[in-house]
Symmetry: D2
Subunit: 343 residues, 4 copies
């Protein structure tokens, strides 16, 4: 920690701060600058508690932590990328994984058709929501357990891994029974009760970045899951909220290389929620591959115009198939880049 | 709904849209503009589903709802302000209510001292966290049930109403047993599982605005609670997230009169989280009263420098007492304004 | 400056950084932390250039300046508040100043009527735009010199100080000829060519905060004006841009006490642009007084429905008169607070 | 325009609005909805003035324009992409153009070395600042005319097109004398005096998006330049300002396909300012190519550690050369995509 004192703080004020820092188990290093005194605290201790205590002292101008607030998810803790093994593929290694499917599981026909098309196009994972976080209490809230069953059935029929969202700590065991990957939505990224319960869920977790969450906060939320016992976490950029209104969200695509510098966890891009508009999805998918994402998670639907949710951002199945073909040369370059980076 | 078609859409494309709208039970009104066709849909139906379906059609440029997406919380539904009756006061009526206390309940001595000072200064409600939403899994997570007991004890000793946060739908019954008001934190504003469970909680709810939530979304979350059976909801502005870093958050104080125009629910301002800095709190409290808030919710602590959380934004107890005195003439003007507005 | 090195940087890398810092004329203080080396640079030098150079070195994790980047505008440089003397009043001292008038000067009748009402209501300054920054090239761009003349005439007729916007360094002499205060719009807050030219303009400057400018950047822009020779600068909070769309902008009202802590310059609030909506203006004016602003700058119009710009946020003249009356008890409290603070 | 009235507006209020709309030359179409009256205005007129007037009427809930506020820059006005012909290349056509060079022109040796490396790596345009917009008045402000001369000399020596920034309407003729492309910085995107003067400058313009400007506003600023007589405008995404602090700005890369849908003007990406960090630039360049940008504009320097500005985001010349090689297969795919799109 580096603590800068307010200008003209008397020596007694400086001493009081030094004593407080020592009380937390740190050693002190005092630097007399031209304008003010700066104190460095060295050692290992409860950084947050110490920082909060110092910031509450009136003579302290600012207290800044130097070390990262997360541990297990950091590159410093583990250099090699985390590779998450799934039924039919692995994420974070040498394979570019595509997850696709409808926003909501609506009925057996719809999810079966989707699964067939997803498998035929060469994607590895089937998505589909059974518990839906909806802004309005009057909107479709999902088929719940019935939806989970249909998703599982469709995935099994096509040999696909399945992913679905869980919204409450109470539902974790139920959802984990049916799905291969547990998805945590953007609005629940800091639902700490839920995060803690994922530690023992026995399933990999896909953690979406909150609408106005910083990358550090995303990593802290991942740290919750890992610290509670589950190492298999992937992070998902799905667009953040800004002043721009032409797109549903603003995709912070640079988050991909930034996160690769900060953490060993795989990084996924969701081009559907990031844009909200079908016509923008293929270009963003190409860019996501080019910038080095480990996977994309996107929405497709047999008939988007009749979808109960997110139709405007869902690709028609033939468009999806075409997009997957067009993506191949980019994936080939991705593999070359990846093998180079790992060699 | 108003649906504007893309330029040069052929008649068959317009017809297809019209049919879709009729399928949802609406009547059609077509307007041939100079540049494009615009369609008005009139009637009552499932607006969201219809909008989503239309937006998914390629010939549609934009589909806009005219009616508000919320109902029970709107001024149109209920003109008179909602007044929430508590043990020793009421919020939303002719009384300006002050809620104060420490961020976390830490031990009996701390909460008792706080309660005494809160009561002595003339505040009506005691706050104190027992379940704490912390960004880091390594930070203090609250005393849980033990904290609830201490808070209740302190409130009872001083004749104060008590408020505390609940973080999981699972904990609602437990927390409701000990507290008078259930607080929903900013990070849980769109935790829809939790919101639904508040409907039958039998306690008034204080709903904090999410860090990047619009006022409409705040109202939709309140609508969840009301639609599930609980009318006693108050809304809380606690600062939103912007690019500015000098303050912890940016207080959108104008949200107070805006919400008063949109809803009958009481509006509370939290000057502590909105600023993150003790020295700014008194001025913001004055402004909150002047702009017409129904209540403020703020942090005080017997010894902020030793607080386990939020020390930098907590007022010392004597400063709080002084601030309460200085606030009185503003509260007097508030009462005059309020009685005028209601006469 | 505090420079933290990347973990595991070899000694040669640390030495290279130390040498670079010494080359800029600073003394070095090296701190060996548990995880990394941190270096403090002490002395006086070209901080920005040194910081930029260090940040460009691959072994540097982060370089943070401790001292403020501005000088003349800081409280450390000058403790007493700057008081700007105008024709009929002073801003920054013991008087609460109201500036009001139409968005644009449209014709003689309109500006004369406005001036009469502004004076009658007790305001001291008349505003009116002659050069208008409009998002669209097809919108009314202002009466230019003709508008300046009318504004001057109206101000003189009523004994009011006048304020108007200048948009180009080229126009500074012309505008300064007719007006008492030069207004710099939000979109020009970082028009550095313009700022430099204000140094010798011989007129006080009202500098509006940019739509997404931090308070530090606002102070740096003020520093430009002062460093080029003009001490009479007032800062204006007029709402920043956020994700919220119900109001035109989001008023960061807490900027007022924050700026009072950082600078000696007077702080003005513009409730019209901050909200974009007439009905919200009176409540925000009360709050601006209560939070300690030195002045408000607002839009009024004899017939807002026929205004060529900003009609929706302009008060009708009788509403303005009523608002001024209602504001008096708040201004009285403001004076008490101000005299207390200065005693 | 679509105008929705407030609920329960009496017929006289509706009539008043209808008359106002007719006064602006529009025809009226009234729609009686279940909850409120909605009015459609059909025809051609001064949309902004009419909208402003209607929004100022108390009985109007909302007034929304349907047609785009820009004309010349829209796809509707001109279907074919604008191709801007330069000395040695064209932007907007079948060629992917790379613009590179130092942030500031510092001296002859520096700009010459840069130009050589830029040309050797296969880039077509040399950038270099002579007038620098700096947040602080105490930072290096550029070599001004001397810098322009050096840039021109270096460009000529290597057969490169040159681009440099102009900051004031006053400087347009001078800068236009030396440079091939006039760059407008983000902070000047809404410097309307400057924009107007670009109309007759006789040089193509690269217009950077403002830090918090919407894409519509960017297009409106481009419309200013075109409406004043200059068709050769390219738009540049250089990162917007959000709450995220790990990167200097947040790159809204999806702006590229969005702008391609809205306008015929070429779109450029600036990966240097968008990230602020050298290590992130190559990945973002790949993504910019993949998503369909027409060009990239980036910073390189012979010795970034000694650069007077932006060293941390400038690539070393050998890294730039390597990056250009690695980019080739992506550019090849871009050409395939482009030729397909145009065939």
């Amino acid at each position: 920690m580096i603590i800068s004192m307010k200008q003209h703080t008397p020596q007694t004020g400086v001493d009081e701060v030094c004593q407080r820092i020592r009380d937390f188990g740190y050693k002190i290093h005092t630097i007399e600058g031209v304008e003010r005194v700066v104190i460095a605290a060295i050692g290992v201790g409860d950084v947050t508690a110490c920082l909060e205590s110092l910031e509450a002292m009136p003579q302290v101008e600012r207290a800044v932590r130097i070390s990262a607030p997360y541990k297990f998810v950091s590159k410093e803790f583990k250099k090699d990328k985390t590779v998450i093994r799934l039924r039919n593929c692995e994420i974070g290694g040498g394979e570019f994984v595509v997850m696709a499917g409808p926003c909501s599981v609506e009925n057996e026909k719809q999810i079966m058709e989707s699964a067939e098309a997803v498998a035929a196009a060469g994607a590895q994972v089937l998505r589909g929501g059974a518990f839906k976080p909806r802004t309005s209490p009057y909107d479709f809230q999902g088929l719940e357990e019935e939806g989970l069953k249909l998703l599982r059935k469709a995935g099994d029929a096509m040999g696909l891994t399945v992913i679905t969202e869980v919204m409450s700590d109470r539902d974790v065991p139920l959802v984990a029974e049916y799905t291969d990957i547990l998805q945590i939505g953007a609005r629940n990224m800091q639902n700490f009760s839920l995060l803690k319960n994922l530690g023992k869920a026995g399933r990999p977790v896909l953690l979406k970045r909150g609408l106005s969450s910083t990358m550090k906060e995303l990593l802290m939320s991942a740290e919750y899951v890992v610290a509670h016992g589950n190492n298999d976490v992937m992070l998902c950029e799905r667009g953040i909220r800004t002043f721009e209104t032409v797109t549903r969200n603003t995709c912070d695509l640079v988050a991909v290389p930034v996160l690769h510098e900060m953490t060993h966890l795989p990084v996924v891009v969701d081009p559907s929620h990031a844009t909200g508009k079908r016509s923008l999805v293929p270009a963003l998918c190409r860019a996501a591959v080019a910038i080095g994402a480990d996977s994309i998670l996107m929405e497709v639907h047999p008939c988007p115009e009749k979808a109960v949710s997110d139709g405007a951002q869902s690709l028609h199945l033939p468009t999806f198939a075409a997009m997957m073909r067009d993506l191949q040369p980019y994936v080939a370059l991705w593999k070359r880049e990846r093998s180079g980076a790992r060699s």
